[in-house]
């Protein structure tokens, strides 16, 4: 009797594919988390480690053009060579330091410009009517439908000495000789602000869209004028959008290569250009890798500030 009961209690074996599906269903959260983690590991962390490794190597006439980190000698002894020369070289040479500072100056200024122009635009879109809103949002996204490179070339055509803007101004008699715009820092600012503006506007829009419109009315009702309401109510409440937008502009703008190369020519030094030159013209992979690592650190720090800010904000709410 007892044996019979245990036999009944023993579950029947299901077919294999059903068992796998059941497992997946049971652990679906794990599966969903694993996929992006694996992706980041494979395509972000692994290349980063390779770059970090190269930055600790020395230039060599070989293929690839740097010394190996781990070498086995004949008698089975493993030697690890780690060289910090590349970093000391970068930090000692004024060229690199100045280029980093110039990059930061350009990206910070561009971020501020994007914020100054993007904030009112985002606000206007949020406040626009049900017909205008999707059209305006579409217009913000529209430039992405054309190649980024093509759009930068278009700016070259606009800004050149014999370009559209100068030709129009000359024809109108506003100026006697062309204004030099292309291959100046001004052109780089135009290019960066133009390119990264959507990355400022969209997070700001998403943030402002959630704001309760009656908050402004409540502030006015309590005796606050529009400017005061903006600084006391709207600005603090849109801070998460501002931080997100600024990071989305600041980070890629700092490492920007195409815009300073095409619009700035040789006159505007940005770290992206230096990195490219070291890598392809000088074939100095270890220094190029070190430049990239320092750049990464420069970008990670503001990221951490952002994380800290976000953590604090979510703690409060």
């Amino acid at each position: 009797m007892r044996e019979a009961r245990t036999q009944i209690a023993k579950p029947t074996q299901r077919p294999l594919h059903q068992r796998i599906m059941r497992r997946l269903q049971k652990h679906w959260q794990l599966v969903i988390v694993t996929i992006p983690f694996a992706w980041l590991l494979l395509f972000f962390l692994a290349p980063f480690l390779i770059v970090a490794k190269i930055s600790l190597a020395e230039l060599a006439i070989a293929s690839p053009p740097f010394t190996k980190m781990i070498e086995w000698t004949d008698n089975g002894i493993m030697t690890i060579r780690v060289v910090f020369d590349n970093f000391t070289y970068i930090l000692e040479d004024d060229l690199y330091l100045n280029t980093y500072l110039n990059s930061l100056k350009i990206s910070v200024t561009s971020t501020i410009l994007c914020l100054l122009f993007g904030y009112p635009v985002a606000y206007a879109i949020v406040r626009s009517g049900p017909v205008a809103k999707p059209i305006l949002l579409f217009c913000i996204i529209l430039p992405f439908w054309t190649s980024f490179l093509l759009r930068v070339y278009a700016w070259m055509g606009l800004l050149a000495d014999q370009g559209t803007i100068n030709n129009v101004l000359l024809a109108m008699g506003v100026i006697d000789e062309p204004i030099r715009m292309l291959y100046t820092e001004f052109a780089v600012y135009i290019g960066i602000v133009y390119t990264y503006m959507p990355f400022m506007i969209l997070p700001l829009y998403a943030n402002m869209e959630k704001l309760d419109g009656s908050l402004n009315e409540a502030a006015a009702d309590l005796g606050s004028r529009a400017t005061n309401t903006f600084f006391k109510v709207t600005l603090p409440l849109t801070m998460p959008g501002i931080v997100a937008g600024c990071l989305l502009v600041f980070i890629p703008a700092t490492g920007e290569y195409v815009i300073p190369d095409l619009l700035g020519g040789g006159n505007v030094q940005m770290i992206g250009r230096v990195l490219y030159n070291e890598f392809s013209r000088n074939s100095d992979w270890p220094v190029a890798a070190a430049v990239a690592i320092v750049l990464l650190l420069l970008l990670v720090i503001p990221m951490m500030v952002f994380q800290y800010y976000q953590g604090k904000a979510s703690e409060e709410s």
């Binding site: 009315e217 502030a219 309590l222 409440l237 709410s317």
Partner: protein
């Protein structure tokens, strides 16, 4: 209490010679082709708790927002305490508003939310602190002053919104559906709290609501609005017991309405011939002999009795119980009259039916009747 005192406590009941706090004269608001508020006149007196009652889109909120200064007036004028408001922006008006969504600043604590309005007036810090403290005590939220709005319950948020609007001691407090976001039980409780607070602070309230029960229990006077116009203005008793039109009689409470013709109209009584029966009203009404008119009778004012023989005469009719709705404290009976019309009758269940059987039930032959004072004469 002398007669004089009564008059000054409730100036709205005897407005002759009294100065209204708010004067709305011929105010119109149009959005394109749509007229939201259509040429309305209204006087609100100091100390009133005035309710604007109406369905959605009737213009009640628009009128409130014009008082607050959020909407411009297309025609007519609004005067508050003798000052014409047409050129006064919202931030300079002696009004404060409690929003339907409460519109509390989510990044500020309860304390800071309440202090915000006082800070705008550049009031000294120590005084702000005292006033915030006092108002928090009034709404019983002293222990929550450091919390953020999202850490509060709906009822607490509602009280913060009220405190924030009251702390500036406005001449006029505007409340947009102040209780709509609360659940039913809390709403009933808060209703009385709100009226008590208003009495304590003595500020004039204008409340917009779509809930007639809320309006009835809160208001000193109320206005029933429809399609941008006032249908009737009066005390809750006036509106309920003496509605002027079919719309008001039907909108506030429920009413059995039937068509009739005036057959007798003298100083002390009126007689109306209807399809149901002859209706006799024991007081004079200004109606025209022979004119078409509507008679309304409230369900709770009708007596319902089991009948052996059909009722004959004025103010009574007979029929069959077609449906019964048992609500516990009362029951609704749907009585089908011989002409096919269905009359609603509500009756309190004063006796406990020990046999689990109600006195009057489905398919019973019943007579209905009402007092000669009960029937209401309504125009369309």
């Amino acid at each position: 209490m002398t007669a004089l005192d009564t008059a000054s406590d409730t100036p709205w009941l005897d407005p002759d010679g009294q100065t209204p706090l708010v004067q709305i004269k011929g105010v119109t608001k149009k959005y394109g082709d749509v007229t939201a508020v259509d040429n309305v006149d209204l006087d609100i007196y100091p100390g009133e708790l005035f309710c604007l009652l109406g369905g959605s889109g009737c213009g009640k909120s628009t009128l409130l927002r014009m008082l607050a200064g959020f909407e411009t007036v297309n025609g007519g004028s609004i005067t508050i305490d003798g000052v014409d408001m047409s050129e006064v922006p919202a931030y300079d008006r002696p009004t404060n508003m409690m929003f339907q969504s409460y519109a509390l600043f989510p990044h500020m604590s309860v304390e800071k939310n309440i202090a915000f309005g006082l800070q705008q007036d550049r009031i000294p810090k120590s005084e702000i602190k005292d006033r915030v403290h006092d108002i928090l005590a009034l709404v019983e939220l002293q222990d929550f002053k450091k919390r953020k709005p999202q850490q509060l319950s709906g009822g607490q948020r509602q009280r913060v919104a009220l405190a924030r609007a009251l702390v500036k001691e406005p001449k006029l407090l505007l409340l947009d559906e102040p209780l709509a976001a609360l659940d039913k039980k809390l709403r009933k409780q808060t209703q009385f709290e709100l009226a008590n607070i208003q009495e304590k602070v003595g500020v004039t309230f204008v409340v917009v609501t779509h809930d007639q029960e809320e309006a009835m229990s809160l208001a000193t006077r109320m206005a029933v609005m429809d399609a941008g116009r006032f249908k009737q203005i009066g005390t809750p008793t006036e509106i309920y017991e003496f509605p002027e039109s079919r719309f008001v009689a039907d909108f506030i409470g429920s009413a059995n309405i039937f068509e009739g013709r005036v057959t007798e109209d003298v100083a002390d009584h009126v007689r109306v011939k209807t399809e149901v029966c002859d209706v006799f009203i024991d007081h004079g009404e200004s109606v025209k002999m022979g004119s078409k008119i509507w008679v309304g009778i409230r369900p709770e004012k009708i007596r319902l009795t089991k009948a052996d023989k059909p009722a004959v005469g004025e103010n009574q009719a007979s029929g069959i119980v077609e449906d019964v709705g048992y609500l516990g404290e009362s029951s609704i009976y749907k009585v089908k009259l011989s002409n096919g019309q269905i009359i609603d009758v509500t009756a309190p269940n004063q006796l406990r039916p020990m046999s689990r059987q109600h006195g009057i039930t489905w398919d019973d032959h019943v007579n209905i009747s009402w007092e000669p004072s009960s029937a209401m004469l309504l125009n369309s």
